[in-house]
Amino acid sequence: MSFISVNKLWKEYGDQVVLENLNLEINEGEFCTLVGASGCGKSTFLKMLLGQETLTRGELLLEGETFPEEPDRNRGIVFQRYSVFPHLTVRQNVLMGLELEQKPVLGKLFGKARKEALARVDEMLESVGLTASADKWPHELSGGMQQRLAIAQSLIMRPRVLLLDEPFGALDPGIRKDMHELLLKLWREIGITIFMVTHDLQEGFFLGTRLLVFDKTRNDPHAPGAYGATITYDLPIGNTDEKLLRDIDQSVANTARHQAN
């Protein structure tokens, strides 16, 4: 049995079909990148994995069980922005999850338990390169550092799945490259299953183990909502060449143009 299985999944909002007939098997430890034009349901799919959205028809299973319908500690998330808490310092941000887990009522750790938790926090900060900023407020950090913090905050919970919704979309290209390296390093160390949504096809092509392209195969110019998107390419990364990249790029760009009209 695979880790996550998607069977004939549909997502509709009223008349508008967002996703149609999605079928997918994901093994534990895979790093999937989701690319596609905007409005092609990749973020919606991520939200379903997270529990923020529910499916209309079909099945979405985690080790054979239906996905919980609300977010929980087994599925970490990093958004493009606003993922960290502005009222907590870097250290407190990472500590938060441990505190919430161990103290259901107070939500705060004291004494020895706090010291132990902070040791784990500092280790985590070290591995994302934020040790020097441990006592800063999030607004004092650059965009890239805020994303590092958001990743650290999620990973300290050791979730089974890490979901990334265009995590590096707002960063400068140079910083983005550093973040790719960091993410790959952490993924190799922890061996967690990752889903990452990105706009950037290049990013999707070279990061991770598997590329999922969300695209529309049919388009009705008179009823743009009539057909949904589905997965048009499901490629293991490594066996890809330039021509394929250009083909996918072309197809995604076409869909984007249709959406815009």
Binding site: P86, H87, M96, L100, P104, G107, H139, M157
Partner: protein
């Protein structure tokens, strides 16, 4: 250069800011002088001399009848009512605003009521308060609570709802239960916003305080102003109004500073 692009320097800005005050004082001084020249017993526009004498009498000499320093007694009485009223209102606003902002079930249940209550003109129900709570302290405090709490509740609920959805999802992925979402994510972020709401509500709170004191009281700043109005004692009324204004400014600035000190992340653009 366009007018919209012309900015004053530091010194010029201060001078421009002070100017209206000076003009006001000057106009009053001239008018007062003129009236006093015609009739030294004029009560309508007392000069500085009469006002200092009145302040000295009210604040620094024992009242012949009661043996109290009236201005201080009035100030303490009024500030007590104001503090209690706005304090109770703030606590209520925090509790109701938080649950209203975070819990959709409570919001569906409570938000229409809060919205409706905030539309009731508080002064219109002042007689009801006097009937129900009597003419004592309680009804005056209640007027301030009723006058300011519903609007603050709405404000707090709105601030809670303005917190990014991303944060609400994130805290759940860190394993938070509903209680923890409120206490560790919403409450700490809404506290500085509550202080801002209190600062805005202080204006109405003073209004309700003075209205209640004017109608039924035996001491208080509002009571005194309305009492001496019978004798046209402008020499007392004007210093009292200035004193109330000073108090309002001081309270407002104290809250502003407290907000800065207590929540450094809030004022540095961290929200």
């Amino acid at each position: 250069m366009r007018l919209i692009n012309r900015t004053p320097g530091r010194l010029a800005a201060t001078a421009l800011g002070v100017l209206p005050f000076l003009i006001l004082v000057l106009i009053y001084g001239l008018a007062s002088q003129q009236r006093l020249a015609e009739n030294p017993n004029d009560k309508l526009l007392p000069g500085l001399e009469q006002m200092t004498a009145a302040v000295d009498r009210m604040a620094f000499q024992e009242d012949r009848r009661t043996g109290d320093y009236l201005m201080w007694v009035d100030t303490v009485a009024s500030l007590e009512r104001l503090g209690m009223g706005i304090g109770i209102a703030a606590v209520m606003a925090l509790v109701v605003g938080l649950v209203n902002g975070i819990l959709p079930l409570v919001r569906a249940n409570l938000a229409p009521l809060v919205s409706t209550l905030s539309m009731v003109p508080p002064l219109a129900i002042l007689p009801i308060l006097f009937i129900v709570f009597g003419l004592g302290e309680l009804s005056k405090v209640m007027l301030i609570v009723i006058g300011t709490a519903p609007i603050m509740m709405r404000d707090v609920a709105q601030r809670v709802r303005e917190l990014p959805t991303e944060q609400l999802i994130k805290v759940q992925t860190l394993g938070a239960n509903s209680w923890q979402v409120v206490t560790r994510m919403a409450l700490p972020q809404v506290l500085p916003r509550l202080i801002d709401a209190v600062r805005l509500s202080l204006g109405p709170a003073w209004l309700f305080l003075i209205a209640a004191e004017a109608i039924a009281s035996t001491e208080g700043l509002g009571y005194r102003i309305f009492l001496v109005r019978r004798y046209l004692a402008m020499d007392v009324i004007l210093p009292y109004v200035i004193w109330i204004t000073v108090l309002a400014i001081v309270i407002d600035q104290c809250l502003r500073l407290a907000n800065r000190r207590l929540f450094p992340w809030y004022n540095a653009g961290g929200h």
